[in-house]
Amino acid sequence: MNMVFASLKKKLEGADGAFMLETEVEIAGGGITAIAGPSGSGKTTFLRMLSGLTSPDGGSLEVDGETWFRGEIGKTPQVNMKPQQRKAGVVFQGYALFPHMSVLGNLLYASRDRDMAEKLLQMVGLRQLRHARPANLSGGQKQRVALARALMQQPRILLLDEPLSALDERMKVLLQDKLLEINRDLGVTILLVTHDSSEMYRLCDRVLLFEKGRIAADASPRKLFVERETTQKFAFKGEILEIRAVDAVYIAVVAIGNNLVEVVIDSDEKEDLQAGDSVIVGTKAFNPTVRKFAAKDFDVSRL
């Protein structure tokens, strides 16, 4: 069953002029969908249009069989449900916890259902901290409070704007597991904006890649990242730090994420490469290969 049907248009002001954000997308219930794409491509606006915090210029939005928006460009919309009426849980970038309320207070503000609040705090592992103030929590804890708060109203869709971007790797993985658990146990449909390809791969069954306001790619993370035209077994994007000659071959030191790797390259390959180049380090069979990063390669860093 389709949970979300979003055919929305909105004019946006970008860094190089105005452009039209146009989405035409159906999202199945129960899944986790990643909204990816470069900054200023309309990801956050898309999420805001779903939650009702930003009004589209025109189009229609249906969630779980209910019309949340319908209107034509230049006219007053026929339907434009307020954010208060939409059953959309939102986790904001920066969490937006109410500083004057305790953790439990933040949850109970959403709904006075104490049992539900205790259950959700248990689920995100914060029962011990229920009386703490947000100012005294770590980033990961704040994130979990925001998540639990957004679930208090039993939303039909859960919208997360870069929920894990400010957290360290360990906390990221922990919270990714939490999200998977929530998705599985509560069956809530999740849409999240993310730049992190490993996050998409671990969490999401679908990636919508936004570019200049349009959905440029719509596929499973596996299709997007692995099953590309190459037959490489693995491929990472990195940056060459230095190339040095060793006997008849050359060794390139490549920074991939936080790791440094040394890759043997031959003189033909060396011709094309120099320190500072962005490269793809991949392997066919057993030998790692290094080749110049080309635009046709899917640019993971821009996600």
Partner: protein, 225 residues
């Protein structure tokens, strides 16, 4: 030396200030909220109108209020004929004048405080199903306590300290419009410096205590962030 001391002008001043503060708080709260949320082209116009008393000489304001409130003006006629209240040289008259004169001192801190509450908090509240009124009461107000206290205290103190407008609209009628600041003026005119000293010292102590309170409270609220 102090045989002329009379507590009545102070009581009158405090009564006037207390009622003015309550009225202005009630009026300013929704207006400040509206102004903090709107992007209307009329916003600067409204803000400029309300802020006029800060820059206008009290005599100018007092003069126009006198004209506006007099028995021959439509407003004065309405109050006089329908409610049997005279607005000139009466407590009700200086109350209206005080409300206009002290309006910006209540509105500005409230509006500034509300504008500083992060938009995300309001949006979070809306997505949690809360109306604008619920958001105002449960999210905005608890987060602007220093601004509220500043508005309340400064409005009270400013009303106690006003002189020109009250004199123009209310004159100096004992027990009705002779507030502390006017009483001092009259004492000086009558050369009763001793009593004037006492009155003035009380007002200085009061003003200092008020400002000290504001700064202490603001300091305390700022520390936990």
């Amino acid at each position: 030396m102090s045989e002329g001391f009379d507590i009545e002008p102070f009581l009158l001043s405090f009564r006037l200030a207390a009622i003015t503060t309550v009225i202005l708080f009630a009026v300013s709260l929704p207006l400040a909220w509206k102004l903090s949320q709107t992007r209307s082209v009329f916003k600067p116009f409204v803000e400029a109108c309300i802020s006029m008393p800060i820059v206008l000489p009290p005599t100018v304001l007092g003069f126009y209020l006198l004209v506006l409130l007099s028995g021959r003006s439509p407003l004065g006629m309405f109050f006089g004929e329908r409610l049997h209240i005279d607005l000139v040289f009466t407590f009700e008259g200086i109350l209206i004048a005080s409300c206009i004169y002290s309006f910006p001192f209540m509105l500005q801190p409230l509006q500034a405080g509300m504008e500083q509450v992060p938009v995300k908090l309001l949006e979070a509240s809306y997505t949690l199903g809360k109306s604008k009124l619920q958001t105002l009461l449960h999210v905005i107000l608890p987060n602007i306590k220093p601004s509220m206290l500043t508005g309340l205290i400064i409005t009270f103190a400013h009303t106690v300290g006003e002189f020109g407008v009250v004199l123009m609209v209310g004159g100096s009628i004992q027990g009705e419009t002779r507030v502390a600041s006017i009483a001092i003026y009259e004492l000086v005119e009558r050369m009763e410096y001793g009593t004037a000293h006492i009155y003035a010292a009380i007002l200085i102590a009061f003003s200092f205590a008020v400002l000290m309170t504001v700064y202490l409270l603001n300091h305390r609220y700022k520390i936990p962030g």
